[in-house]
Symmetry: C2
Subunit: 315 residues, 2 copies
């Protein structure tokens, strides 16, 4: 699947993943009204609105980008009906040829991580039959529990030819509270280093045995909001694809991103969520109006693509 992702990035010339993180406040009235008319102001109505909204965006951008990243929390907030919209979104994006990164940030002890990996990447046996649950192509994983919490995900990826992005340094303001802590390294001679570097080294080690062609299918998450950190982690994990959240609404700009890429122009994929899917709510794209929300999303993708290309050309 990492090969499919890289081929898609080359084909579209856009190292961009569109974050499908729908809040009801982003969804144009013409969509919510239709959904509520059919199902009432219910969780089912909300799920339908989310799904129709996503479908419009996916149709408008699927030729421009290689991948989407639905954030499952935004669906889980509506309970079962939200998760049905998540499942429909994953399936539809795959039909459209997009790589689907499930942003689920799961991570637990061994047998439990195995169950998550089964539900999101693999298949489960029921009697004599096998079924797939949510069936994303990649998922994000939280490393706090260590190797035996991550290995079950890796084993399912090996079997299914899928992949992971493991949280190393997240994009939020307080990510440094634990992730930046100076940690003693074992060897007495070496100086202390931030925890995220140790996690990054472990990601590189996990990734070494999971190679596609030139990149591993075990990647990392490193926030765009910490460009200097990105520079250090790029060196530490040369063969890991880095999924970079935090562009746009969270404050990251194209110029911050250049260090996340390798010399080959590959190695990073930049996520933008609100900045694309709710572009019509920004002054810059207001002329599209709410009925033109999908075209506004398309315009925002094209602008983001140009911003990144221009930053990469200047380096």
């Amino acid at each position: 699947m990492i090969q499919k992702l890289i081929a898609g990035i080359k084909r579209t010339e856009a190292p961009i993943v569109v974050g499908l993180d729908p809040m009801l406040s982003y969804i144009p009235e013409h969509i919510t009204e239709k959904a509520y008319a059919a199902y009432g102001e219910t969780l089912q109505g909300a799920g339908e609105a989310v799904w129709q909204y996503n479908k419009g965006i996916v149709d408008a951008v699927c030729d421009l980008v290689p991948a989407v990243k639905p954030q499952i929390a935004m669906y889980e907030q509506f309970g079962i009906e939200g998760l049905i919209a998540f499942e429909k979104t994953v399936r539809y994006c795959k039909e459209k040829g997009l790589v689907v990164i499930g942003d689920i940030k799961r991570g637990d002890i061994g047998s439990t991580s195995e169950a998550y990996a089964t539900g999101h990447l693999g298949s489960v046996r029921v009697g004599s039959r096998e079924y797939r649950g949510f069936d994303e192509d990649f998922v994000t994983v939280n490393p706090y529990l260590g190797s035996d919490g991550v290995m079950p995900f890796i084993r399912v990826c090996q079997k299914e030819k899928k992949g992971l992005f493991i949280l190393v340094k997240t994009s939020n303001p307080s990510s440094g509270e634990f992730q930046d802590r100076p940690v003693r390294d074992g060897s007495a001679a070496s100086s202390d280093r931030p925890l995220y570097e140790l996690v990054g080294e472990q990601v590189a080690r996990w990734g070494e045995t999971c190679m596609g062609d030139s990149y591993s299918y075990i990647g990392a998450v490193v926030g765009a909001t910490y460009p200097e950190t990105g520079k250090a982690l790029r060196r530490i994990m040369p063969k890991s694809y880095i999924l970079v959240p935090g562009y746009g609404a969270q404050g990251g700009k194209g110029a911050d991103l250049v260090h996340f890429f390798n010399e080959d122009g590959l190695g990073a994929i930049i996520n933008s969520s609100r900045g694309i899917i709710a572009a019509y709510q920004q002054e810059k794209y207001a002329s599209y109006g709410s009925t033109g929300y999908a075209d506004a999303a398309r315009a925002a993708v094209l602008d983001m693509k140009a911003d990144i290309a221009s930053a990469l050309a200047k380096r």
Copy 2:
């Protein structure tokens, strides 16, 4: 909700939470056969089997324990149908008067954590109406993203009078890989301390502003498999309830648990999952047979209660 939990522990004299972590391999044939006869060997059939199995256990133990802890991964592995079984289980346990701890180990950046907190503890607005998603009483939270990933959960708990158990030191063999790393503390004079102690201190700080009567509703998860660590963390977080996984099948024994309790005999609640819900598969409870799986679970709870009481009496 922490008061309800403590009152339940006092009433039952059992600081025990039953982990409802169903694997299909635990479920007796008479249950799976009936479910498959009704729904086929499908995800729906699996969901029905899980739900009927849980119901039998809950009916057999609900007068003996104050709380249950369904591990959502075990349901998520069956996709939507599994999550429907999760939702039914949560609702049924609450009807039976049990406190429900959703073992979800979520954690993300601010707005995303808010969506998880909404879906699992709070309510979501759809048009002019409000709905509850999964509606557990407590959930477990992963702290790797720092304060702004945890605070949205705390805010929902404050509003809803619910609570959290935040991962500090997990029960799995490789939990030390990152959690035990010696971390520099800021003050030059102090020596390095393991990361889990810093996380524990932060849990204590978060908890101070969230007090029930004598205990905070912001608790911690500390594995039974690391008794010495439990001793240190008990001191660091005197007012935090500690949820202790790892008893039984993972290797923890009653004698390992005494340091997790305060002098008042409170402050800890011990989880056992497989050791109770699949007790009939152990030699010790084999005489119950698979049709007596619920009675075997009841016997295992009584034995666990006696083991803990005897260990506490000896300290």
